[in-house]
């Protein structure tokens, strides 16, 4: 502690900016970690809370995926001896059409029976409703809203609210305002209750319910009731406690959560590199001080502890500030993610409060401090090993010994060989990830030797271009591989990440483009929802014939899709008019023949699945898929596997006739419309709108609009990736600033000599700039190579654990060409400060510096 006070503290004060940057590295890592996890937790918690709040005293819920089921199921449930109360429910989020309010969660319930499960205490209501809730039912436009929602929108009893329904925007009347109870806080207070039969009509449910909420008879346990219901209803229905919906929601977002986890780990790793870089440089910078201390009798342990203590101080400070910053940013991130989820997945969510987990914060602080100590460990150990004589010789410490170089190369070679062997067993998760880590590790271990090699290779080129400045810049890198390689490694790793993410994005965009060209070729799409991903509203069966009768329409293909849980994985079942679709869509088969799969599916003898389904559910051609339906288990063999991006967890395609027969549902939620040749698409589209708009709520999107919508979704999804690229570039800049700051300190005398023998200020500046640009070039070369490897593993990881999507390996060449000016520009900007410092100092002092 005494050494810390005497030596570290003055050093920190002298290099305050660098220390703030170091701490900023930890702030960044811990901040992103805390923000991502808190946001994730808040979203899940908001969903769980909403489920819990609207569950009332419900013990079990009977459901059949998003398709719902026929009204008759209610009687079967009520007939079960163990069931005490069973009430039907329809649940949907609809657009409020009130500026700034977004969507509202509508719970369609049977008011007469539902009060046994949920408490609808009214704060204010029509007198008649206060006396008799049946009056509420008699008026189909009735709505009860929460006190919070009413307050936010100045609503009173008998106020009108415009809601988007299947029949277009309809005015509903507030008949009651619910007192603040647990339930009214559901969905952030944007919650309303409607009569279930009115909900069936306005939400296009026909004579179907979304689920049945159940409470067991007194004296019957939940498990007994659940078992009895399962026995009665068979495997087609899910019978679970309300809390299970949270699990399904989490399963649905699994790939997203994994991506978030990788993001936060990446942020922590970035922080670790900044710390490593800063400490490596601090040790270099203070080599003389260490030498003197060692000469005066300080033990190796004392030196090591001194640096580790500094890392603990920096780590703890950075972690605490990072946790605060993370919590501050979490709500904004959670809301942004919720919006993405709602648009992309049709899963509406409203995060109004943060769920801060004390243990997560503690873990983040421990992880941040631990990361800091871990990152500082090697520099601290190196500091402790400093030979006092060598330490007092300028520059010696920067040299990588032959032995160390050789040892690194051997370890790298061993890591590379083991990683190569792992490739043969990459079907196994541990082998795949071990290989991945070892391959990246080998790259990092080789970085100093490769940096040296490239610096030496670049020297003659630089000498040719600018004989004095170029040579000195290259020599500075050659003479200090330790100093240079720390930054080059950080830059290389950052760029490898960038190539990985960029390559993934590029491959994904290319595949999506190909899929859109093949599968999304109708002239326009008609949907009853506010966007194509929302499935809470459906059209009746006749929509197809109504649109087909419109002048200029050539063909209509209706689609009904909904999410079901298959082997605990939420997947999308898409029913299509197979023959019609086959005549217009030519998909890319991954397995099986396109003609055969279309024929068998159309005949109801099979189904085809997306590649992601096959990967996630570990299924292959010929496997029989058992789908739970209201009519029992539908067993169909897989007759084809295709590339499809309708849903990231996986899609199953069945024929519409099969869907109708087994689900007893003939509604549709998307109509794909083809226009006759020679007809003006816009004119036909307008005619369809004119025909339907009086009866239905409509969303009619042209092919271009759908493509734009999908691309916008992709952009939102990848926005986080681009932020990581920005972080990666910032790390690189920070590393270069650090390296150059030490470099010009080490070369103070040389730069002084250069000025003494006639070097102008601009020539000194150019020397420093060229050094930075050379670091950039070396980082780009090594980063591109490691990135090419990283991309291979990233795509493997995507297929294996992030959605099961198989993507072609396409190296993002254009992207990397774009990175060249970005990295070189960043390197140059990083060099501006150190270059100015190099020319501003006293020349006499510089010449005397040793």
């Amino acid at each position: 502690m005494m050494l810390f006070r005497l030596l570290s503290w003055p050093y920190l004060r002298r290099h305050l900016v660098r220390w703030i940057l170091t701490v900023a590295g930890i702030v960044l890592g811990v901040g992103v970690f805390v923000a991502m996890h808190t946001a994730n937790r808040s979203i899940f918690s908001a969903f769980d809370r909403t489920v819990d709040q609207i569950a009332g005293s419900t013990q079990l819920q009977v459901s059949a995926g998003e398709f719902g089921f026929d009204e008759s199921v209610l009687e079967r449930v009520q007939s079960v001896r163990e069931v005490g109360i069973a009430v039907p429910v329809i649940e949907a989020t609809v657009d409020t059409n009130i500026p700034g309010q977004g969507s509202i969660l509508i719970l369609g319930i049977d008011m007469t029976g539902d009060r046994n499960l949920r408490d609808y205490e009214l704060k204010d209501a029509d007198e008649a409703i206060m006396d008799d809730p049946l009056v509420f039912l008699a008026q189909p436009d009735s709505l009860m809203v929460t006190q919070e929602f009413a307050g936010r929108n100045n609503l009173t009893v008998n106020s009108k609210i415009p809601l988007s329904t299947i029949e277009g925007i309809q005015q509903f009347t507030v008949r009651g305002i619910m007192s603040s109870t647990g339930m009214t806080r559901a969905f952030g207070g944007n919650f309303a209750v409607m009569d279930i039969y009115a909900a069936q009509q306005v939400l296009g449910r026909g004579r179907r319910f979304d689920r049945i909420d159940v409470r067991a008879k007194d004296g019957i346990t939940i498990d007994e009731c659940q078992a009895a219901l399962k026995a009665t209803l068979g495997p087609s229905f899910d019978v679970d406690p309300p809390s299970a919906r949270g699990r399904h929601f989490e399963a649905l977002l699994q790939s997203y959560s994994t991506a978030m986890m990788i993001s936060s780990l990446f942020a922590l790793m970035v922080g670790m590199f900044i710390i490593y870089n800063s400490f490596a440089i601090a040790v270099t910078h203070r080599r003389a001080e260490i030498g003197i201390l060692r000469a005066l009798g300080a033990t190796r342990g004392q030196i090591q502890r001194l640096f580790l203590l500094e890392s603990i101080v920096a780590g703890t400070l950075g972690s605490v500030v990072g946790a605060v910053v993370g919590i501050a940013a979490a709500l904004g991130i959670a809301r942004w993610i919720s919006r993405v989820l709602e648009t992309a997945g049709g899963v509406a969510q409203r995060v109004s409060e943060l769920q801060v987990d004390a243990s997560l914060i503690a873990l983040a602080i421990v992880a941040g401090t631990g990361t800091s100590v871990l990152a500082a460990w090697i520099p601290a150990r190196n500091a402790a090993r400093v030979d006092p004589v060598q330490a007092l010789q300028k520059g010696k410490y920067q040299v990588l010994s032959v032995g160390e170089n050789r040892r690194r190369r051997w370890i790298a070679l061993a890591a590379f060989l083991i990683a190569s062997v792992c490739l043969f067993f990459s079907y196994s998760k541990p082998f795949f990830y071990t290989g991945y880590v070892l391959m990246i590790g080998a790259g990092l271990l080789l970085a100093p030797a490769l940096t040296l090699l490239l610096s030496k290779t670049l020297r003659p080129i630089l000498k040719r271009i600018l004989p004095a400045e170029g040579t000195l810049a290259a020599d500075s890198l050659v003479e200090a591989p330790r100093r240079t390689s720390a930054t080059v490694s950080a830059l290389m790793l950052s760029l490898a990440m960038v190539v990985g993410f960029g390559g993934f994005a590029h491959s994904f965009y290319s595949s999506i483009q190909e899929w859109m060209d093949n599968a999304l070729n109708p002239d326009f799409f008609v949907a009853p929802s506010e966007n194509l991903a929302t499935r809470s509203l459906t059209f009746p069966a006749e929509i197809s014939s109504v649109i087909e009768r419109v002048d200029g329409v050539d063909q209509v293909q209706v689609v009904r899709d909904a999410r079901v849980t298959y082997h605990d994985v939420p997947v999308m079942v898409i029913s299509i008019e197979t023959e019609k679709v086959a005549s217009t869509v030519h998909r890319t088969p991954v397995a099986g023949s396109l003609e055969e799969m279309n024929r068998l599916t159309a005949e109801g003898k099979g189904l085809f699945v997306s590649e992601s389904f096959a990967t996630n559910l570990k299924t292959k051609m010929g496997d029989v898929v058992e789908l739970p339906t209201p009519s029992g288990l539908l067993k169909l063999p897989i007759v084809g596997i295709i590339r499809d991006y309708s849903d990231l967890r996986g899609s199953l395609f069945i024929d519409r006739s099969v869907y109708r027969d087994w689900w007893k549902d003939d509604t549709a939620n998307i109509a794909r419309v083809y226009v006759k040749k020679g007809e003006n698409v816009e004119a036909v589209r307008q005619r369809v709108i004119n025909t339907l708009s009086s009866q239905y709520r409509l969303l009619v999107l042209t092919n271009r609009e759908v493509r734009d919508w999908i691309m916008k979704l992709l952009d939102q999804w990848f926005a986080m990736t681009y932020n990581q690229i920005v972080v990666a570039v910032l790390v690189a800049v920070l590393g270069i600033v650090n390296t150059l700051t030490v470099s010009i300190t080490d070369r103070k005398r040389e730069l002084g000599v250069m000025q003494a023998v006639g070097g102008l200020r601009k020539q000194i500046r150019w020397t420093v700039w060229i050094e930075a640009l050379t670091i950039g070039v070396i980082g780009l070369i090594l980063g591109t190579c490691l990135g090419a490897v990283n991309l291979y593993y990233t795509l493997g990881m995507i297929k294996r654990d992030l959605g099961g999507i198989g993507l072609d390996y396409i190296f993002p060449s254009a992207f990397m060409i774009l990175m060249v000016p970005i990295i070189l520009g960043a390197a140059w900007i990083a060099a501006l400060g150190p270059a100015e410092a190099a020319v501003r100092g006293s020349l006499v002092e510089a010449l005397e510096y040793e």
């Binding site: 040579t471 250069m754 020349l843």
Partner: protein, 224 residues
């Protein structure tokens, strides 16, 4: 050639330290002048001011007609690179450059053509009898050889002024004598004005004029 008028140099710190006080000195073209004095007398500071490495706190310094006090940093550098050659006690060779590259450095900074640079550097290294050490790095040379490379570098543009700060201070006696002889030879061949800072009487005696400093003032100016 070199003219100092009322030149003072005060170093600002927690306490002000006067390194030179009211110096008047005029050195004619072609002279070989030694500056002597004990440590801290201001002789190196004087050399740094004449070489344009530092600015005086007051007074004027004229080198070949140019008033250094009025010039910007870059203009002073231009004067230095065109008119002044520096030889340092610790050689100040760039450790990563070989002898040829070290001598060529000032010429590259002047953007001379490559061929001309190579010819001049070789010629100068030949002059200091190091034509067999062209590719050697400073680490691979003896002290005397390093100083010869430094002298060759200082003379690379045939400067009219050569400033040498303790050129033999880091060398053994025999090597020091060789270096002084070399400076004498070069002076007689090139006709440069030479200023040598030294505390070695033997060195001073070889010069045509000796200026002695003490506590930042000229206490003796002896011509031979």
């Amino acid at each position: 050639m070199i003219s100092l008028t009322h030149v003072s140099k005060i170093f600002d710190g927690k306490r002000k330290a006067t390194a030179l006080e009211n110096i008047d000195l005029h050195i004619e073209k072609g002279n070989v002048v030694s500056i002597m004095g004990p440590s801290g007398s201001g002789k190196s500071t004087l050399l740094n001011l004449i070489g344009g490495l530092d600015r005086p706190s007051s007074g004027d310094i004229r080198v070949d007609g140019e008033n250094l006090s009025e010039l910007s940093d870059d203009d002073r550098t231009r004067v230095r690179r065109d008119k002044i050659g520096f030889v340092f006690q610790f050689f100040n060779l760039l450790p990563t450059l070989n002898s040829l590259e070290n001598v060529a450095l000032p010429l590259h900074l002047r953007k001379w053509p490559r061929k001309k640079i190579e010819d001049r550097a070789k010629e100068l290294l030949n002059l200091v009898q190091l034509d067999h050490r062209l590719e050697h790095l400073p680490d691979e040379l003896s002290g005397g050889e390093r100083q010869r490379v430094a002298i060759a570098r200082a003379l690379s543009v045939y400067p009219p002024i050569l400033l040498a700060d303790e050129p033999t201070g880091n060398l053994d006696t025999a090597t020091g004598r060789e270096i002084l002889k070399l400076i004498d030879d070069l002076h007689s061949r090139l006709g440069s004005t030479v200023l040598i800072v030294t505390h070695d009487l033997e060195v001073a005696e070889r010069c045509s004029r000796t200026v002695a400093l003490r506590d930042g003032r000229i206490v003796e100016d002896r011509r031979r």
